[in-house]
């Protein structure tokens, strides 16, 4: 082994500082969330307690954190499923050159590079137009049901879902693009030569090979959605998700209860990340074990 040059130690020191910069603030609020009942928003700690977590579960202010939490979790789940299914299908479709594929690709990616406030405002205005048109129809044909029951189409699972997908789907598509660019078509040809139907080829050949990347897309989809705020803040309608609630709390709550909430959401993020990464490792191992039986004779 060569002896390390001096620059290695300088760069390692720089990297350590960077990691400290990344983690330091989060660790600070993690510690401060266990602040004693008499403590404030900053150090020193006035004893150690779970007081602020209790406060949190009793509810702080007027906002309903519990429902915001479930909204975020369910929406994140739906967004993840749609992103995975749609980006795998799109990735497969884009392997063939079809008319307008280039344009379609850029349209799909475009929402990544559009400033988030523009997306958010655009979705909000679009749904206002929907609402106005439906009400106009109700007036024109005198449909009583619309007069009495219709308020808005805007909501967490319509406009909110759309806003999240403008952020998660392009990332999923980019990942699948990268995956299929490195995918060896010989596997599919072999499956076809052996008489597999297109569906069998997909289910038994392509899907197992791309499984780790699908976990990647799911991880991206969920964490981006769990944390999404810029695109959805104007587009959620009456409900709100956890990050939006958190942001409004930053201006109203001046106790360490907000740190307790921070600790809690960070823990949930970490649990999701760790479990998906573990699943990824398990799938990889399984692939390595059962990947190839070449040279092992016929069963």
């Amino acid at each position: 082994m060569d002896s390390r040059p001096a620059s290695f130690y300088w760069l390692a020191a720089f990297f350590t500082l960077f990691v400290l910069f990344l983690y330091g603030p989060t660790i600070t609020i993690l510690i401060l969330s266990f602040q004693g009942p008499g403590g404030g928003l900053t150090f020193p700690m006035q004893g150690v307690s779970l007081h602020w977590f209790e406060q949190l579960f009793r509810g702080i202010g007027v906002v309903d954190i519990g429902s915001a939490f479930w909204n975020s979790l369910i929406l994140g789940g739906i967004v993840t499923v749609i992103t995975v299914v749609a980006s795998v299908m799109a990735g497969l479709a884009f392997r063939r050159r079809f008319y307008g594929s280039g344009a379609l690709f850029y349209v799909a990616i475009a929402s990544l590079i559009i400033p988030s406030i523009v997306v958010s405002l655009g979705i909000a205005l679009e749904f206002r137009i929907f609402d106005d048109s439906i009400k106009a129809i109700g007036d024109a044909y005198e449909i009583e049901w619309i007069w009495q029951n219709y308020t808005t189409m805007m909501g967490i699972y319509s406009s909110g879902l759309g806003a999240h997908l403008t952020w998660t789907f392009p990332f999923g598509l980019l990942i699948m693009f990268a995956v299929f660019n490195r995918f060896n078509p010989a596997y599919e040809e072999a499956a076809r030569d052996l008489g597999a139907t297109p569906w069998q080829t997909f289910a038994h050949v392509i899907l197992p090979i791309i499984a780790p990347s699908i976990f990647g897309v799911a991880l991206f989809g969920f964490t981006l959605s769990w944390d999404e705020i810029a695109r959805s803040s104007q587009a959620m309608g009456a409900d709100s998700t956890l990050p939006i609630t958190l942001r409004s709390l930053t201006t109203t709550v001046t106790t360490p209860a907000i740190y307790a909430l921070g600790t809690l959401t960070t823990m949930i993020s970490l649990i999701v990340i760790v479990s998906l990464l573990t699943a990824l490792v398990v799938v990889r191992r399984r692939q390595a074990r059962r990947g190839s039986d070449a040279g092992k004779g016929v069963m």
Partner: protein, 185 residues
């Protein structure tokens, strides 16, 4: 080892952005750790006010929140550099610095460009970070559009949004003249 280091760099970005913003408050606030440290060490007599809710804290939070969008494209570009090119540079007598400037950086030009596109669009359209870290006192285009939307000034907000979109697209077009993004995937 490289995978572990990459994970260390990316895991914080999978946690809540708002929480990561407010976690600067106990550090930068008037009675925060930084001020306590500076006053305690005798460097300054009165705590600095300009650390939190200022341009400084906004920029700090932007860097803190968005470095991942540069790290990942760079990682992607650099991991694809052929190791033999670097060995060739060393064999040709290049120093570490010369190899970095003449071999590595030109080869990850696309990564730098893609990272820049992400960071520029996120920062240009931001109004959350500016709001929270600027104490709702600092203006940005995004913040103005948000305020106008809240007051139901939709035509004005839409006009501002189109100007913002045009400006961002011009920057991106200028950047993409250097690379073919689709080739990078």
């Amino acid at each position: 080892m490289q995978i572990v280091l990459a994970l260390i760099c990316t895991i914080p970005f999978w946690t809540s952005n708002v929480i990561r913003m407010i976690s600067w408050i106990p550090l930068l606030g008037r009675n925060g750790l930084v001020n306590q440290g500076l006053v305690g060490s005798g460097l300054i007599d009165t705590p600095l006010d300009g650390l939190l809710y200022s341009d400084f804290s906004v920029i700090l939070a932007f860097v803190h929140l968005n470095t991942v969008f540069m790290i990942i494209p760079l990682l992607n570009s650099m991991s694809r550099i052929d190791k033999s090119l670097i060995e060739a540079a060393y064999d040709g007598g290049a120093s570490g610095w010369q190899t970095l400037v003449n071999v590595v950086i030109p080869l990850c030009k696309t990564g730098i460009t893609i990272g820049s596109i992400f960071v520029i669009t996120i920062v240009m359209g931001d109004y959350i970070t500016i709001g929270v870290m600027g104490g709702q006192q600092i203006a940005s285009v995004g913040k103005i559009i948000q305020v106008q939307t809240n007051f139901l000034q939709f035509p004005l907000a839409a006009a501002n949004a189109i100007v913002l979109l045009g400006a961002v697209l011009l920057m991106i077009v200028a950047l993409t003249r250097f690379v073919d993004i689709r080739k990078e995937l």
